[in-house]
C-alpha cells in the first residue's frame, strides 16, 4: 500500500513539477487524439451524410404496375418493407391524356410534397401548386401555349366511354409555376390527385410511383425484390442510372476520405511519438541518478511508463471530446445535419493514445536504462 502511494505520489509530483514540459506532451497527445477521433468519426459518418446528398439525383426506385394501375394502399404496403428513416420522398403518378386548346397534352397527377422531395432538382419558376385549383406546367408546354404564371387555362378530358353527344369534362386551373428540368418532364402538366379525379370523374389509381431512398444499392435491390414478391400488382425496379452511378462515385469518395484519414493519422501519430521521445530523452540524467541510487530498471520503466500512460489517457480523453466537436462542426457546416455519436470511439481513442505514448516513451527510457549510470550522469 505504501509503495503504491509513493508511486502515485512520484508520478503526480513529476507531472506537476515539470509543468511546461508536461503541457507540451499533453498538447501533442491531445492533437493526435483529436485528429484520430475527428477523422474516424467523419469517415464513418460521411457515407451516410453523402448518401443523403446524392438523393438530389432524384428517384432511385420505381414502382410500376404489373397490370394497368395500382392504388395508394399498394404503395403503402410496399413502403412498409423499407425502414422509415431511409425514405426521402415518395411520389405516385397517374398519367392521363388531356386537352388544352384542343391539343393533346400529357397530364400527371401527383402528391406535390412527395414530388418535391423525390425530385429535388426540379426548378419551378413561380410556386408549386398549393390547392387543387392550381396547376404546374412544363416549360415546353408553357412555350407552346404561351402560358405565364397566374394565367388561367381550361383543361378538358374526354372519358373513354363518352358517347357522341356527351360533352367533354372540363376544369379551369390557375398556372402557379413553370417547371424547368431539362428532361421530358417539361412536356407535361402537373396537377393534384383530387383535381385529376374531378376532371376524369374516376379514381383509377396510379401508373407509376417514384421513390427516393437513402440506402445502399445492395439493400435497395433487396427491397425491390421483396416488394415485387409481396405484391401481385407492383413491379419494383431500380433506376440503374442513379443507383449504379451513386455506388461508383460514393465508393470513390469514401476511399478518398479513408486514405486521407490513414495518411493524416499515421503522420500525426509519428509526430506525437517524436515529441514524446524528445520530452523523455531530456530526462536521461534523472534516470541515471535513480539508477545510481539503486533503482532497478524495472521500477524506472514502471514509473516513467506510468507517467506516460496518465498523459496518454488524459490527452486521449481531451482529444476524443475535441475530435467529436470538430466532426460535429464539419457536419453542421458541410451537410447541415448533426453527426451520430459513437460512444465506442472514446475508449478507442484513449487506448490508441496510451499505446502511442507508451511506445514513444519506451524507446528513450530503454536506451537510458541500458547505459551505465555513471556515463549518463557525466553527460556523455
Amino acid at each position: 500500500m505504501n509503495k503504491r502511494k509513493m508511486y502515485i505520489r512520484m508520478i503526480t509530483a513529476s507531472l506537476l513539477r515539470r509543468r511546461s514540459r508536461m503541457v507540451i506532451a499533453l498538447l501533442a497527445i491531445a492533437i493526435g487524439a483529436t485528429i484520430l477521433s475527428g477523422l474516424v468519426t467523419i469517415y464513418i459518418d460521411v457515407p451516410r451524410q453523402l448518401r443523403a446528398q446524392f438523393r438530389s439525383y432524384g428517384a432511385n426506385m420505381l414502382l410500376a404496375a404489373t397490370e394497368r394501375t395500382f392504388t395508394k394502399e399498394d404503395v403503402d404496403k410496399a413502403l412498409a418493407v423499407i425502414p422509415g428513416e431511409e425514405i426521402v420522398g415518395v411520389a405516385p403518378y397517374r398519367y392521363e391524356t388531356v386537352r388544352i386548346n384542343d391539343r393533346p397534352i400529357l397530364a400527371a397527377a401527383t402528391d406535390m410534397e412527395g414530388a418535391k422531395a423525390s425530385s429535388p432538382f426540379w426548378k419551378v419558376d413561380g410556386s408549386w401548386p398549393a390547392s387543387d385549383e392550381e396547376v404546374m406546367v412544363g416549360k415546353n408546354v408553357a412555350d407552346t401555349f404561351r402560358l405565364f404564371e397566374g394565367d388561367r387555362i381550361s383543361v378538358t378530358y374526354r372519358p373513354e366511354d363518352a358517347g357522341e353527344e356527351d360533352l367533354d369534362n372540363s376544369v379551369d386551373l390557375t398556372v402557379t409555376g413553370i417547371l424547368d428540368t431539362g428532361g421530358k418532364e417539361e412536356d407535361y402538366i402537373y396537377m393534384t390527385i383530387a383535381m385529376m379525379e374531378e376532371l376524369t370523374g374516376e379514381d383509377r389509381g396510379f401508373n407509376v410511383c417514384e421513390m427516393s431512398i437513402a440506402s445502399e444499392q445492395s439493400d435497395l435491390s433487396g427491397y425491390a425484390d421483396r416488394i415485387s414478391a409481396d405484391s401481385s400488382v407492383l413491379d419494383a425496379k431500380l433506376v440503374k442510372r442513379v443507383t449504379q452511378s451513386e455506388t461508383t462515385v460514393l465508393g470513390k469518395l469514401q476511399a478518398l476520405v479513408l486514405l486521407v484519414t490513414i495518411i493524416v493519422m499515421l503522420l500525426t501519430m509519428i509526430c506525437v511519438a517524436t515529441t514524446m521521445t524528445a520530452v523523455v530523452t531530456e530526462r536521461r540524467k534523472e534516470i541515471g541518478l535513480r539508477k545510481a541510487l539503486g533503482a532497478s530498471d524495472r521500477s524506472i520503466i514502471n514509473e516513467f511508463m506510468g507517467e506516460g500512460l496518465v498523459l496518454g489517457a488524459v490527452g486521449g480523453l481531451l482529444g476524443a471530446v475535441l475530435g467529436f466537436w470538430f466532426a460535429q462542426a464539419v457536419s453542421m457546416n458541410v451537410f447541415n445535419s448533426s453527426i451520430s455519436l459513437m460512444p465506442w470511439l472514446l475508449p478507442a481513442t484513449m487506448v490508441v493514445s496510451v499505446l502511442v505514448t507508451g511506445i514513444a516513451c519506451l524507446i528513450p527510457i530503454r536506451s537510458a536504462t541500458d547505459v551505465d549510470p555513471a556515463l549518463v550522469l557525466k553527460g556523455e
Binding site: 511546461s20 514540459r21 507540451i24 498538447l27 501533442a28 492533437i31 483529436t34 485528429i35 477523422l39 467523419i42 460521411v46 453523402l50 446528398q53 438530389s56 439525383y57 432524384g58 393533346p104 397534352i105 425530385s119 432538382f121 426540379w122 415546353n140 407552346t144 424547368d180 428540368t181 431539362g182 428532361g183 425496379k237 431500380l238 433506376v239 440503374k240 442510372r241 449504379q244 452511378s245 461508383t248 462515385v249 470513390k252 469518395l253 476511399a255 478518398l256 476520405v257 486514405l259 486521407v260 495518411i263 493524416v264 503522420l267 500525426t268 509519428i270 509526430c271 517524436t274 515529441t275 524528445a278 530523452t281 531530456e282 470538430f326 462542426a329 464539419v330 457546416n333 458541410v334 451537410f335
Partner: protein, 429 residues
C-alpha cells in the same frame, strides 16, 4: 565563429537535429499532401460524376412538342433535325476542353421478323474522332451509359465491329428471345438490314425496350442520312452561382463585363450557349437532374476536404511547434553555460534560431517532396490518375513551415532568455 558553432551543433547533436527535421518533414508533407488533394479534388470528383451521364442535351429548335410526346405516325420524319456534319464543332467551342464526352442520337421505328414494332436508336458507341485541334477523342454511349449492365455478350465496339451490329435492351430480348450472336432483321421506314446482336443490356429504364445501332445504320434504315435528332453532351462544369442563374434566364440582361465573366466561366449555361452558337438551329439545355446535383455534391465534397485540410494543417502546425519548443527547452544547460561565459541574449537567440531554421528548411524540403508522393498515392489509389500539384501549394507550405517553426521557438527563447546561468549550471532549473 557563428558558422562554426552552428556547424558544430549539427555535427554534435545530429540525432536531435534529425528528429526535429523529421517532425518538420512530417508536418510539411502532411500540409503539402492535403493542400494538393484539396485543390484538385473538385476536378477529380467532377470527372467521377460523369458516371451520371450527360448534363447537357441538345435538340433541334423546331422539334415539335406534340410529335415528341405522342410519336404521331412518322412524327420524327416531319420534325426538324440537327446536321451530323456539325457534330465535330462541339469540340471547337471556348470550353471545348471541358467537353469530356458526347453522343448524337437518332430515333426511328423498325419492324422485327416476328412483326413487332420496336424503337431503334442510332448512336455512337465508341466513335473515334480526330479533331481539327489535333486531339483524338473516343466518344459515345459506352462511356456515357456507364450504368448499363451487359447481361449477355459485350459492348458493341464500333471501331472493331463496324456498323452491322446492334445492342438489344433486355425487355425486347426477353420478349423476342434474342441473345447475343444472333442475327436479327430490322425493317425500317426506308430500308431493311440484317444485324448481329453484339450484346444485351439492362439499363433499368425505358431504354430496355429499345434497340441501339450505330448511327449510320439507323440513318440508312430510316432514310435520314446525315441527320441526328438529339445530342447528349457530358461537360465538366462549375457549380452555378447568382451570375449563372441570371445569365441562364437571359444572357442579354448582363452588362459587358458580367457577360465576359459568364462566357469565360465553365457554367453549364455558358457551355449551352456556346453549343447553340456552333450547332445550327439548336437548343441546348442543362439536364437539371445531373447538372444541379453535380454542383451540390462538388461543393459538399470540396468543403469537406477543406475542413479536413484545415484540421491537418492545425495538427501539423501544433506538432512542429511542440517539438521545436521541447527540443529547445532541453538545451537549457548548454545555454546556461554560454551565458555564464558571457554570451548576450540576442547572440544566443540568433544561434538557436539559425540552427532551428536550417533544420526546418531541410525538413521542409524533404517533407514537401514526400507530401507530393502521398498526394500521388491518394490520386492513383482513389481516382486512378495523378493529382495535379498547384503552384500555390509551394508558398503556402514555405510560409507555414517558417511561421510555425518561429512560433514554436518563441516560448523556448523566452525561457532561455530568463535563465540564470548559475541556477542552470547548479542544476536547479
Amino acid at each position: 565563429m557563428f558558422i562554426r558553432m552552428i556547424a558544430k551543433a549539427f555535427l554534435r547533436q545530429w540525432k536531435k537535429m534529425v528528429m526535429i527535421a523529421f517532425t518538420i518533414a512530417l508536418g510539411a508533407s502532411l500540409a503539402t499532401a492535403m493542400l494538393s488533394v484539396m485543390m484538385d479534388v473538385g476536378d477529380k470528383v467532377n470527372h467521377e460524376l460523369k458516371a451520371y451521364g450527360a448534363n447537357i442535351s441538345v435538340v433541334p429548335k423546331n422539334a415539335s412538342v406534340i410529335s415528341e410526346l405522342y410519336d404521331i405516325e412518322d412524327g420524327d420524319v416531319s420534325g426538324e433535325y440537327l446536321a451530323e456534319d456539325e457534330l465535330g464543332k462541339i469540340k471547337t467551342i471556348f470550353w471545348a476542353f471541358n467537353i469530356v464526352d458526347y453522343a448524337p442520337f437518332i430515333s426511328t421505328e423498325a419492324v422485327l421478323d416476328e412483326g413487332s414494332t420496336v424503337t431503334v436508336k442510332g448512336t455512337w458507341f465508341d466513335h473515334h474522332m480526330a479533331l481539327p485541334t489535333g486531339e483524338e477523342l473516343d466518344a459515345g454511349v459506352i462511356s456515357m451509359r456507364s450504368w448499363w449492365e451487359i447481361i449477355d455478350g459485350d459492348w458493341l465496339d464500333e471501331q472493331k465491329l463496324g456498323s452491322d451490329f446492334c445492342m438489344v435492351g433486355t425487355g425486347i430480348a426477353q420478349k423476342e428471345g434474342i441473345s447475343a450472336g444472333q442475327t436479327i432483321r430490322l425493317k425500317g421506314p426506308k430500308a431493311e438490314k440484317d444485324l448481329t446482336v453484339a450484346g444485351v443490356f439492362d439499363a433499368g429504364s425505358d431504354e430496355d425496350n429499345e434497340i441501339y445501332v450505330p448511327l449510320d445504320t439507323a440513318q440508312e434504315i430510316s432514310g435520314l442520312e446525315g441527320k441526328v435528332s438529339s445530342i447528349e453532351v457530358s461537360a465538366l462544369t462549375t457549380p452555378d452561382n447568382e451570375l449563372a442563374r441570371k445569365a441562364a434566364e437571359d444572357p442579354g440582361s448582363l452588362s459587358v463585363s458580367q457577360y465576359e465573366t459568364w462566357y469565360c466561366t465553365a457554367y453549364v449555361s455558358s457551355i449551352c450557349y456556346q453549343i447553340e452558337e456552333v450547332i445550327t438551329d439548336s437548343v441546348a439545355s442543362a439536364v437539371r437532374q445531373v447538372a444541379d446535383s453535380e454542383g451540390q455534391i462538388l461543393n459538399k465534397t470540396q468543403m469537406l476536404m477543406i475542413l479536413i485540410t484545415i484540421l491537418s494543417l492545425i495538427g501539423a502546425a501544433l506538432g512542429i511547434c511542440n517539438l521545436v519548443t521541447a527540443s529547445v527547452m532541453e538545451r537549457s544547460q548548454e545555454i546556461g553555460l554560454m551565458k555564464a561565459v558571457g554570451a548576450h541574449n540576442p547572440a544566443i537567440t540568433g544561434l538557436v534560431l539559425t540552427e532551428i531554421m536550417c533544420t526546418a528548411v531541410i525538413g521542409g524540403v524533404i517533407g514537401f517532396f514526400a507530401g507530393i508522393g502521398f498526394a500521388q498515392i491518394i490520386g492513383h489509389t482513389v481516382f486512378q490518375s495523378a493529382i495535379e500539384i498547384r503552384a500555390m501549394v509551394v508558398p503556402i507550405v514555405i510560409v507555414l513551415v517558417i511561421v510555425v517553426t518561429l512560433i514554436g521557438c518563441i516560448p523556448a527563447i523566452k525561457m532561455l532568455q530568463s535563465l540564470r546561468p548559475t541556477e542552470v549550471l547548479h542544476g536547479r532549473a
